[in-house]
């Protein structure tokens, strides 16, 4: 059966797709949190630097960034980022971290001023204010949009075949190149597999929308 054969072939690529996805989610979330916090921190140098980073990575395309990290940096400066997987994870994380830092920043700024004032009145330090009052409330507000970005990151992982990573799409293309007539079946199964991978992320986003609507997680 062609369908079983194709699916088995594609399964060999799912591992790479998943690894890139999970690592990119972790790294981009960290980058987003740090960059988002830096942009609301009252320090011109820090704010300026992160602002520059965000605009550079938002303003250029992810494919070009992938090629840069993969081919241009090693050629120009002799910088080698290690394995291709790390190149891919780094490019995707820096790109999406830049976008996501904006939602972190927006959420932090949208926590009412009264919360800061109450924390000052209770004599919390700046760090304690952020850690216990502002960030927990900001995270709650930004979760629905965060979920959306996770789905986008999944879709972005399909670009990594362009720098030679053997992911889901890569194996699909390989199969198609030797079985030209089965192209529709191959790409139908690829679509389906990506959708299956996205389902938990979609579920997460839905759930977070409910949480954010309530404003407070009960219990």
């Amino acid at each position: 059966m062609a369908i079983t054969e194709i699916t088995l072939m594609l399964m060999r690529g799912i591992k790479v797709t998943l690894i890139v996805l999970v690592l990119s989610i972790i790294l981009s979330s960290l980058i987003a949190l740090i960059a988002g916090l830096s942009r609301v921190y009252h320090n011109k140098l820090l704010t300026g630097f992160t602002g520059f980073y965000v605009e550079i990575f938002r303003g250029t395309s992810l494919i070009v960034q992938l090629f840069w990290f993969s081919y241009a940096l090693p050629g120009l400066f002799n910088i080698h980022l290690g394995s291709d997987i790390w190149v891919a994870v780094l490019a995707i994380s820096l790109n999406y971290g830049a976008y996501m830092s904006e939602i972190v920043r927006g959420a932090i700024l949208s926590v009412p001023q009264g919360q800061t004032e109450a924390s000052i009145a209770l004599n919390l330090t700046r760090f304690q204010r952020m850690r216990h009052i502002i960030v927990p409330q900001a995270i709650r507000m930004m979760l629905p949009e965060y979920g959306n970005y996770l789905i986008q990151i999944l879709k972005a992982t399909s670009l990594v075949s362009l720098i030679g990573l053997t992911d889901l799409l890569y194996y699909g293309n390989i199969y198609r190149s030797t079985h030209l007539t089965e192209a529709p079946t191959v790409y139908m199964i690829i679509l389906l597999l990506y959708f299956l991978l996205a389902l938990p992320l979609i579920g997460f986003t839905r759930k977070m929308e409910k949480v954010a609507k309530k404003g407070v997680v009960h219990g």
């Binding site: 009412p112 009264g114 919360q115 004032e117 109450a118 000052i120 009145a121 209770l122 004599n123 919390l124 330090t125 700046r126 304690q128 216990h132 009052i133 927990p136 409330q137 709650r140 404003g215 407070v216 997680v217 009960h218």
Partner: protein, 259 residues
């Protein structure tokens, strides 16, 4: 002679081009209850926000226990702007209750009360919990401790806010129009708690309020503010029953008529 716990010395405050405080001199004695009244925009809220370090004065000196709040001496003995550490040391004696409660919505009532003593004063968690439960019992909320602020009425929220502020054992407590955001039928329960606190004695209180009868009842002294200056001050009966200045008479008449 007892020393004042708080002193305002020629305090000025401008927001942009607007000067809202034009040289305030004010001494608060330990345990004294002072009510600030006056039309909106007269600067009464700004006075207490300066003491809570939520705003910085444009001129003048505020002292708490004889220590300068907004200025400190650096290593060369020069007077410089206070840093966060200095502000935190001085404002530890001050607490505040806000018009809009400002409870932490992501924490239960009990957690709201326990947070600051645990992480700021680094007290033992079990002890803090015991005190918090006692405090919440005092304000009549012992059956609500595990609820979230969104599940409470305005009056209940404000009573939690008071319990939370009291947990830090301030020597001076500031009340910023604490009943203004409440439905009329909920005002009484909040005033009652404040009255109990006032009767209990040793904590100084500065209340910005529109509740004249209440001010008359609990305050040792009433200050009438108008356009950034203290227009008249004295014993509550003196101010509220026998006002001297035309502006104060005006204010009180308009106030009574509007009720």
């Amino acid at each position: 002679m007892e020393e004042p716990i708080v002193q305002y010395k020629n305090i000025r405050k401008s927001f942009g081009d607007v000067e809202v405080l034009k040289g305030i001199n004010l001494d608060i004695m330990p345990g004294e209850k002072v009510a600030l009244i006056g039309p909106s925009g007269s600067g009464k809220t700004t006075i207490i926000r300066l003491l809570m370090t939520l705003e910085q004065p444009t001129g003048g000196i505020i002292e708490v226990n004889g220590e300068n709040l907004w200025l400190m001496q650096n290593k060369k003995n020069e007077l410089v702007e206070a840093d966060d550490k200095h502000l935190r040391k001085i404002r530890g004696d001050i607490g505040m209750v806000f018009q809009h409660f400002n409870l932490f919505p992501h924490m239960t009532i009990l957690e709201n009360c326990m947070l600051a003593p645990t992480i700021v004063k680094k007290k033992d968690k079990a002890d803090v919990k015991k005190t918090a439960l006692e405090m919440l019992d005092k304000v009549g909320l012992s059956d609500k401790v595990d609820l979230y602020p969104s599940q409470l009425s305005g009056g209940q929220k404000q009573r939690v806010a008071m319990a939370r502020a009291l947990m830090m054992r301030p020597k001076v407590m500031l009340f910023d129009e604490v009943t203004s955001a409440l439905d009329p039928e909920l005002v009484g329960e909040v005033l009652e708690v404040i009255r109990d606190l006032a009767k209990a004695g040793d904590m100084a209180m500065i209340l910005v309020t529109h509740e004249m009868d209440f001010a008359l009842d609990i305050a040792d002294r009433v200050l009438f503010l108008n356009e950034g200056t203290i227009e008249e001050e004295g014993h509550p009966t003196e101010i509220l029953v026998n006002p001297k200045s035309e502006r104060l008479k005006d204010f009180l008449t308009r106030f009574t008529n509007s009720r």
